[in-house]
Point group: D2
């Protein structure tokens, strides 16, 4: 069995989540490749060394370019701040290495538009971390839709809301800067847009409205100095899908009561299906002729679930979605399928978000091909 | 105590619901006027007589104009098919009588625009049957919003979906005719638009998308002959409120799993509040600083509830909302306040629905003042 | 059509609920008898007169025995305090009149044991107001069980909890006196016991545990003087049914968060069914082979619902359950079936409650035939 | 930092779950000891070698006694079939090694009664895998109870039901043998009993009822040959706690619709708290003076959660509860606290289950000290 050498850049929360996911994927899946945690990079050499040791990486680097150049590394996992995704991914592609980049693909549509042909030219596997898609319940939803069990899809209504910026005293952070892909739409909503595309398909036109409710925030927690905020606090949009379905999406980081409310309802001529990430092991389903919604609980009849538990109802967690994403990535690298969002798809998500921003700014319907 | 003579036109489901509501209002409220069920009209004289007797009306008429002219009748309740609302209400106003008309106010905005000044000129009490507003839980929601308990209102997201036309074999009916105020938006969505206005206030601009999924239906149940359908099966819209709040509304009569899903979520800077008519005795509420949604159950601390039960959790039903609407109507007639949707407000609902249809047709934002 | 003359004793909340139910039953059902609200009795003659007028009764009495003797009265509805149920019902039976008594049948098993043969001897229709049974969803549950759709019944797990005595400062009332059928078990739990018998059948043995948590309470709201409380604040019991099913019942009036939580789950070899009175228009159901619970919403396919609304999801309320109880009562009087709890059944409920109290006191299993 | 050498016996589902938990505990916690995956034992030497490699263990053994004797091993993790828990744990204790045994402690109370003093004599850390207790939401519930936030505890009502034996064609397995700690009470219910003790404290007396509904099952899937089944399919019991609280517990493996329904409601004089393992990241809470239940979602304010995610609402899964259990185990080994169920506590759980069986058999209340 061939080795697949993993090089991880970044040691924050998502860096650790990647490390866990690579380790756990080895333990729970029969992978066609031998995952080797080859090297880890962090600008602080001591932290790089220490994390490499705790997380099981063989080597560490303080320069990310060294990691990309490391011949034992075949796949570059990027978990650094958003503005670094572009240079790191472009360097990895230039070196002919596979790339597994956290979302967003880039901090501007202009960057994404360079990354898309670069990936195509490099001819390598690329993935962007829209890990919510790897939930077995989402896979089930997608399969049901593809098999026509909901009939013709009529409508997608989605929302991704949280409350972490609801307090006007929540301070400014990079998430408040458009140049770092900040704002409720880019930060949260993009997960929802990716999900809508994953389940229903391409979007062809959008109209939208959005608002910055809190136009200034403290520069840091408790500070009296304020900083002007220009990114959206919430957004509502209409979507027109290529297959004729119509929909709404909403995203807010001001909505009291929600912590991870990535939710949607998809209705078709033969049924309705609903999901909420805050109860990620459940789907609500109503098929034609049944008189009410049924709650489906994740169980081992779904392959992604069975990898973690032989018994239904035992509940997967967020980190296991990441492990499932790694599995798909490895399958793709081995040329054995492997679903997930590649740079082409991730560019389409960025373009869709950009179209929504444009539609909100100009208060008109925007056709995706305009961008 | 003065008498208030009620004249009821129509003996269908809503006619009976009105009769029950008038009778029950007498029994449960301390009204400032003595409700007299003076007369009932139905084109079929025998049915008119029979219903009058069962429901406790003193007289019956087979000509509705006779009922309007009946000197014992002070208030005309109209529960006939939609296209008759206009002539009956106009005749009642011309006779200087109060009018309590089922929704919709009229079958076209043109009609509504005549009824509005006619009501103003007549100077009488008018009400349109948007009975869902009279739910004590809605009253509580409205009071909370008005008292500022949710802070500045940021967003209203509403939906009214049912499944009664989900089957493409569900036959044509008057509800499928624009000339009878048919379509998902007019039939269902107008309740939601009225609710949005009731709770959040005037809407100033809209954008929308809509679709007729099943473009023909059998002329009657089981018939092979088909009739072309032009009204919307579902609609999605963006709303911009005058107070700066933004929102979405959706309405569908094709959505499997829903029977009376008039639902909304209102988020403000200090909290979020959610409601679903399928659980009409509940509100979900999350205030700032609380870590999750709380379920409030209707109880006798709400005056509208206390009229029906001295103990919480005993649940009001749909018909009791109608009884509460009658109470407000009587209070208004007696000059003692009395909330509810008068012809002015009902015209605004019709204009809003018309704006949504225009926005969907022309695929652009429409300002309400355009209409 | 013959008349059925109603005589109502009591003008409190339940008196009014009866009056509403008789009036509404006339309006919504095609009854085989002509309901006449013949007379109303209250010890206060002025109140009797006034309520008779508001609620549509033809005559009023200040002596309840007069009402029983009134030849226009065929059926005596008793809504007075619990300790009066016995003398009034016995007098009515002695006069050969039908009796519709609010629950409980009596304040002691000894009384109930006199009422049972008295009813049999009188040969009249008797009913006790266990109105929750008349919910169309409960009727559906019962029909499903009887048709074998849940297979062999294995288990009944029920609870009736409220919070109205949770505050130790909630004052003493007659509900705190055993001599008035007070205590959580008698006041709330008896509804649950009646429901268990209605759905699953006779109980043959019980074991139980109970407690008085707050052993004294103020004599009245805010009073410093305390009164010793001897009745149970909460009870748990095991039930062994005659058909082999086993179960648990719990009742508490101390349980924070519940307002009318009469709930149960019935499991059989072919399915599980669950209900909560706080959402009285819903049943949760999981049939064999289905992978999760389904929510059923009440709709017009259920005859009891259709009487009130032609459309699903419109929700019945508590008072409409009372109207449905009246319908069954009238059907029984007309000799046309008519389900409901008669004195025989109500005695069985009292005996069951007494057995639970005995089992708790003696800390042992008690066979029902011991009592 | 000292090493803690882990020796794992068993390579089934729970073996792998342990391996994942040890690996992940290293990555997510700052542990006071250096976890070394020293050795793994499986009777099949090839499987032992292969699993050791996949899961990161340094050595493998085909004889479990070798693993116990391995000087690099300080702690023995036992994940073998139930009847092997006793000999393995006793051997480990005899060797002076710490023991981490999957539940149940043993297959009979007699065995458990030998293990309890053996553990005391050995003076080592012992733990039994009641991993559900390590859920941060359960920790929160326990802390709230201990801090008195629910007041005096009045009642514990618990249930652990699943449906995996609901089909009478589900074949016989070791779970159907009392000699392997089979039956719904031992297999599922013991988790609930451990939880009741964890949250409310010692139980002093019980009464119970139980039943074998399906008295024979196929010897294997699809076989026509049947095997007689003697263990309970479901049980209901009353509990009397030492602190005066009273309760019910139910357990069934026949209950359609449930997959992992370990649920409970605890009511006290100041509030009610409810939990369901099928939604393990949630607690429902109603405090005195609040008018309804509130849903709490797990978040990083709980230390156990923060180890896995910095953001609320991201959901822990079952396997992460296991990782949290390992953390507590390591803390205990390091002498730094460390909660969890030791052999003393696990013996008390076994005794409680035995008391329930005795009470059901003899149909009487059983005091725990009788056993």
């Amino acid at each position: 069995m061939h080795d697949l050498g993993i090089g991880l850049i970044g040691t924050g929360f998502m860096g650790r989540a990647h490390a866990l996911a690579f380790n756990n994927a080895k333990a729970v899946f029969d992978l066609p490749l031998n995952l080797k945690l080859a090297a880890l990079a962090d600008a602080d050499p001591q932290r790089a060394r220490q994390c490499a040791q705790s997380w099981g990486f063989e080597a560490s680097h303080s320069e990310w370019q060294q990691l990309i150049d490391d011949p034992k590394v075949n796949l570059i996992a990027i978990t650094t701040p958003n503005h670094l995704h572009f240079p790191m991914a472009m360097a990895a592609l230039a070196a002919g290495k596979a790339v597994y980049c956290e979302k967003p693909l880039a901090v501007s549509l202009a960057q994404a538009e360079q990354m898309r042909p670069a990936a195509r030219t490099a001819g390598v596997v690329t993935r962007v971390g829209y890990n919510y898609q790897h939930n077995p319940m989402i896979q089930l939803a997608r399969d049901m839709i593809r098999r026509g069990e909901l009939g013709q899809i009529i409508s997608f209504q989605g929302e991704f809301s949280e409350d972490f910026m609801a307090d006007p005293a929540s301070p400014w952070s990079w998430r408040c800067e458009a140049a770092h892909a900040g704002g409720a739409l880019a930060d949260l909503g993009s997960h929802l847009l990716a999900m809508a595309r994953h389940l229903v398909g391409d979007v062809e036109a959008v109209c939208a409205d959005s608002q910055t409710v809190h136009t200034q925030r403290p520069v840091s927690t408790g500070a009296s100095e304020q900083r002007v905020i220009a990114v959206d606090d919430h957004v509502h949009a209409l979507l027109r899908f290529s297959n004729g379905a119509q929909g709404t999406v909403s995203s807010s980081w001001l909505k009291h009561g929600y912590k991870n409310h990535l939710s949607f309802e998809i209705s078709g001529t033969l049924g309705t299906l609903a999901f909420d990430q805050e109860r990620l092991n459940e789907l609500r389903l109503c098929r034609v002729g049944h008189c009410g919604f049924q709650r489906l609980l994740a169980g081992p009849e779904l392959p992604g679930y069975a990898a973690f538990s032989p018994a239904a109802g035992h509940q997967l967690g967020y980190n296991e979605l990441k492990t499932l994403e790694v599995q798909e990535l490895v399958m793709a690298f081995a040329g054995q399928g492997g679903s997930g969002t590649d740079f082409e798809q991730a560019w389409a998500v960025e373009r869709l978000a950009a179209a929504i921003r444009l539609a909100a700014r100009e208060r008109r319907w925007v056709t995706l091909t305009e961008l």
